[in-house]
Symmetry: C2
Amino acid sequence: MINKHLATIDAAVQALHGRTFFAAFPENPSPEIYGADADAQGRARFAALRDQPFAELLQGAPEGWVGEEESPYEQQPLGITYPYYSPETLIKNAQDAFTEWRKLKPALRAALLTEALEGMKSRFFEIAYATMHTTGQAYMMSFQASGPHAADRALEAIAAGYEEQTRFPEDTRWEKPMGKYSIALTKTWRAVPKGLALVIGCSTFPTWNSVPGMFASLVTGNPTIIKPHPKAVLPMAIVIAEVQKVLVEHNLNPCICQLAVDAADRLIAKDLAENPAVKLIDYTGGSPFGNYLEGLKGKTVFTEKTGVNSIILDSCADLDQVAQNLAFSVSLYSGQMCTAPQNFFIPAAGVQVGDALVPYEEVVQRLSAAVTGLATNPKAAPHVLGAIQSAATHERVKQLAFDGGRSILAHGPVDNPTFKNARTCSPSIHEIGADKVEQFSQELFGPIMLVIKTKDTQESIRLAAQLARECGAISCGAYTTDPVIKEQIMDEMSLAGTPVSFNLTGGIYVNQNAGFSDFHVTGGNPAGNASFTNPEFVVKRFTWVGFREPA
Amino acid sequence: MINKHLATIDAAVQALHGRTFFAAFPENPSPEIYGADADAQGRARFAALRDQPFAELLQGAPEGWVGEEESPYEQQPLGITYPYYSPETLIKNAQDAFTEWRKLKPALRAALLTEALEGMKSRFFEIAYATMHTTGQAYMMSFQASGPHAADRALEAIAAGYEEQTRFPEDTRWEKPMGKYSIALTKTWRAVPKGLALVIGCSTFPTWNSVPGMFASLVTGNPTIIKPHPKAVLPMAIVIAEVQKVLVEHNLNPCICQLAVDAADRLIAKDLAENPAVKLIDYTGGSPFGNYLEGLKGKTVFTEKTGVNSIILDSCADLDQVAQNLAFSVSLYSGQMCTAPQNFFIPAAGVQVGDALVPYEEVVQRLSAAVTGLATNPKAAPHVLGAIQSAATHERVKQLAFDGGRSILAHGPVDNPTFKNARTCSPSIHEIGADKVEQFSQELFGPIMLVIKTKDTQESIRLAAQLARECGAISCGAYTTDPVIKEQIMDEMSLAGTPVSFNLTGGIYVNQNAGFSDFHVTGGNPAGNASFTNPEFVVKRFTWVGFREPA
């Protein structure tokens, strides 16, 4: 078991260093890869879980059962309840499990966790349906993001954590020449886990955003409590069940990895986060709670909060290709991705396309037409836009209006033949003046696209960089055929800690990023203080301690 | 120049990974190594600097001249003044230098900084005398700690920073197979410095404790302002002058690395630390100011604060060797080392020595005799104990008394034939009951040794670990011949983030630690949040940002 998984982990370590294409879990849900019945079985297993208590967890007798998930596709409850444990019980269980987990060698922890990812793989389809019916993601994204892509990100964290913990020798002989004699010491080092870990999930990417921190904390020896968003528990409940299964199979305490659900009448994230035994916190979600967590004393906190992502349009070869690419980016999962572009900076003079200068208004209309074309394409729209996770997001789009702004495109429903009652919404487009920074300097989560008419590209760059520095940004797209402008954008956005995708057209989008290659969030601006998966993401989870004695 | 230094840096990277003995700068101040006249020239250069403005810095016209250093050996002012610049000027100068420094490749920055260490090496003796007459360290420690050992720690930081910045490719081709076609992207990554860096030094180890953070921030592209302790400026002024010389020789802005001195009438550390442009802060000193710095928003802070170091006496082979080793550890630089032991836990039943159980009182008396023997040995004492840096430390030793405690050994002067007016003090020993935790749970900086009579070794371990966890510890020494006790100490102290030296006798001491091998401070307890030099010490100083475009 160990050797097989260590080979996978070693390959992942190599991939992380090379940053070329690598995927341990195939993203294509085809029968050839996953088996002829995999999809149907996954769908059936999901259906069987509904209107039942989720009975797979091995973490002891619960103090109650709670559940409040609803399908955005049906606008009906899932009817699943989860075992509730008080924060005190969860902490005590985790403390009781600490010593046996921390005393395992990093290689064994890494192998056990990779084994759990194999278990997760066997349930990718079930997780896909669980994700669809909690987040509103379309089927393909639900499969890919919550299944193989999440598992790849988890493996990435395992690999990075394993590499760092084995970076220095377990023991060595240190011999200092002193002229006529020498002093010889035997030295040993241990990578000591920090303590208990907490992972707080979000409602839109329940596994993808939670497994990196979860597996990073686990591989470094910290018992981990995962508290998903109350509206998106099931995908992580399945992943945690698979981890617990592997733990028990190896005679380990399943409470090394526990699911925590909020009580029916109160949220428990603060109770858990403030408990002195909790040393590590991973969080995905809104900035106010993220800032609160970052401010807690005595904790190492990893956050992905909110940001304002920009597109800088300067010049390109083919405007239609650009418009289609961008229309897809704002429509994908109805703009409910942390990497979705929001602010589109377009020079008042227009965009240089080949030899021609396309006027500003024409650029705006072609973007709008591309968005409309996608949202009204019955073959594509439901599979790209999916559904709206929360009624609050839907409401935000409906209520949106800007003082002095212009509505370019109104939102509307997206016809979904499979789910007649789906909560859907196509993107709205608003034009805002470049001087109204306060109107476009916060994240407007959902299918909302703001067009900002700037004096010129210099102003576009200045605004995009300023917003990223001051308000955070997770992605940036730029279109320019000018190498000087390109270098300027790279330089200014790099100082704002924001990755830039240049001149994307065709089947690759600014909001997608690849495990083992693209760092997700940089940690270098207010959108978050951590990055999947750079060395900092794992080294802060343990302490190097050395011992020595005369040899 | 670059290739020569990169060979040194590569050797340092290898040493960091192997953690076997490595030293780039010889610690032996012998004429064979450093030249027949090196010591005399260094002494003369130091003498020539006295009662003068320090005119070597290249950072522009000063706004004033200040200086308040005094020699602990003479109890007389050095009379040296340093150029004063307001915090605003220092920040602006550093900002102006940022772009040219950050745009250099990490390899070039690393080579330039290693070149500066060569310049520092040429002044090791001058730095030694500067250190003696500011800190009170004896000559040999002044030479080794402020010269070669500090330079090795600086090289360690350069090497670690260089390795981390070159860990991922500058660019790569990423090609994702999509069945019939593939998506190919060119990806590039930049290690982006965080901004301005500040280093706040201490009065006892002005270079050794400051150069790791200084060179770590510089090698990762952050312009760095170094504010030494007002009583120990000269050693760092010389180091900074050597860095500036190399910068100017390579047509770079010398303000990439600036000396900041406190004004005559006010301290400027807070002004600098709170400036929004300052993103990185390295600090060595007392816990209250360190805790204040750690609490600043929007800063990455690296601290070495205060702790309480323990010795656990359980069993040994030769008690006299142990007593002599420990007497040396408490006497070295009169206990003014952050790694000096303070609390000596001894079981009430005594210490097992070979087949015999030596009674508690005899153990105490033999420790006391060993301390007295060293402090009154005219050939050794002045060279081991040196002088007391500050009158406040001297006063603390004089005033020390414990309610209910017993004085085992009174402090006294240490005769110094060379410096009749030296401020000296031999260690005092006090016995405190194990139940009086509040009496031995804070650092009593200086030549103070507390003997704590415990019920048994289990209580000794429990108290040592508890103090380390709650109050911090930088070192721990343990004497035991029992492998079970040894593993228990390793396990409990590892959870308290404290390195342990076992059974040291002869010429190696618990308070010494070696560059490239021993991590200094772990970051895992309240004595400090950073470690020389683990990967975390450098990766937090820059941000990985990626860029991509169709290939």
